[in-house]
Amino acid sequence: MKRWFLPYLMLSPFLILVVMFYVIPAFITVMLAFTDMNYAMEWRFAGLVNFEKIFTDPFLPVIVWNTCKYVGGTLFFNVVFGFVLALLSTYYIQHEKSGIFFRALWMLPRISPPVVYVLLFLWFFAPGQYGLLNALSAIFLGVEPQNWLSEYAMLIVILANGFVGASFGMIIFSSAIRAIPQDIFRAAKVDGATEFAITKEIILPLMKWPVMFVSVWQLLSLLTSFEYILLLTGGGPFLDTEVWSLYSYHRAFVGFEFGYGAALALVMVFTAFFLTALMLKLFDFNRMIKSSRID
């Protein structure tokens, strides 16, 4: 008994924190999903009512479609743009210091507070003649000012998230490209490969594992995070940028339908599980962990 007692004692402060802030909230969310708790904050179990409500919610098709556009678009942008940045800053810019400087630039949005970052975006796309984009297009193209944020709301949301998120992929991909031995590139050059062929036939196939990791990671974080949307558009105009997680937040904390909000969150968690499993299958995860492919 003594042998396991002391380690658990040592771990207990941490365990208590984990239980308090991770386990209990998860448990409460699951419980809440089966109640019809509202602003009166009463626990009243209502069975599957909330789930029935989800599938008959008239907003549901729009929300699902928005979520697909947002997650798919941002994920694509993140992975592709992150890969391009990594490729440029590690392979095409061989000078190490320039590469590091270049990558550090792209890390800036990550270390600036989201509110500040979003303010810059809002200012850039602001309607009226004082918005930066409007001012620029008036000078160079002579075009009338436009209300970008209502016209292209989803696109701007994807861009804002994509520019922040791309640095994650960039860091993972750069270290993966750096892990490819120099001799492989030399061999490919001697074997007659052009730079384009080296990118396509050597680097890209060796990025399978990092691409999978970045995709799964970003997929999960994109499904559940909504702070940039909340700050940029608040889900609007109308429901144009209202995604699932934001909708759940709105129903719970703006409409005070805590039960319904929890049920929406619960469905999202299972969707995330399902999508992760699907991606692992898609990338042939089992074969990949069998042996390291770069030795």
């Binding site: 031995p181 001799d183 492989i184 061999a187 490919a188 001697v190 036939e201 030795d295």
Partner: protein, 360 residues
Amino acid sequence: MNIKFNNVSKAFNNQLAIDSLNLEIENGEFIALLGPSGCGKSTTLMMLAGLYKPTAGEIYFGSVVVNDLEPKERNIGMVFQSYALYPHLTVLENIAFPLKQQKVPKKERLRRAEEVAELVHLQEFLQRWPSQLSGGQQQRVAIARALVKKPDLLLLDEPMSNLDTRLKNNMRNEVCRLQKQLKITTVLVTHDQEEAMIMADRVAILDAGKIQQFDPPEKLFNKPKNLFVAHFMGNPPMNFLEGRLVNEGNQQVVVADDWRYAFTKEKALPEKYTGKQVKLGIRAHQLAITQESKDALPAKLLALEYLGREVIIRAAIGKQNVCVFVENMVANNLPEHFYLYPDRAGVHVFDEETGENLSL
């Protein structure tokens, strides 16, 4: 294709790695670049491959200056020390990769890849991944990949250094056989003198970015141009004895505190060298043990090393240690003091300052 280096230099951050190198390689010849690490041999190979550009001078392939040609425009094959196989391609795809880059139609490139695979006995492993192969098999793949496009020049960058001794011997034979069969001009970079001697028609010995000597192996061994070559070639290394070259009567002699060595009339050096500090160089197998002091060097026994058929005797002549090869029989009852009689044909005299071999 014959290859020529004309005053080629290569500098990295203003540090000369190669210092006006001149070298000519005949068509179909197998040469080795041999030297200690950091001597510039790999740099030379990289310049041949087009992966490094020379800082000065010209490299000719045939009559064409190739300084500014990219590796892919040179039609060369290269085998790397790490083999550098593409981990995400099968053996067959690895071998066919150079042909794919030349846009050879798929059917034909697979057929040609299979042909070359057969040449290096890989036909049973075509569908495997590189990670499923042994070191020797991986190297065969690397060789096949280098040969598949029928290169004009084959570059081997320390290809055997990751193999165990037995496999090394096999691969040496096989590479030599392929080279003779296909008549490809080949450049081997190695730090292993045995490998260079066995495989190459001619060996260039490099040190400090310069070629010290470029000759067939037996000439390097028997007629070293300078101290570096003499010291570098042969195992155990040549014995060196420091002394001064003087005239005694009408005889030319090298003298030291504890010994003297007299030259015969035919072997005498030009007069102008008289008075110089020199090093006598004698190989371990060119010293004979004797009990007579006439024309011989007095030695004291230090240790014996049994190698099986032969024994290496470590002995001291004055303050200098030497090695001598002797038969097992002789070694068994050796007195503590004896004399060493040098084979006159094997005595070299090096200038201590310049290292030059004065007796050539």
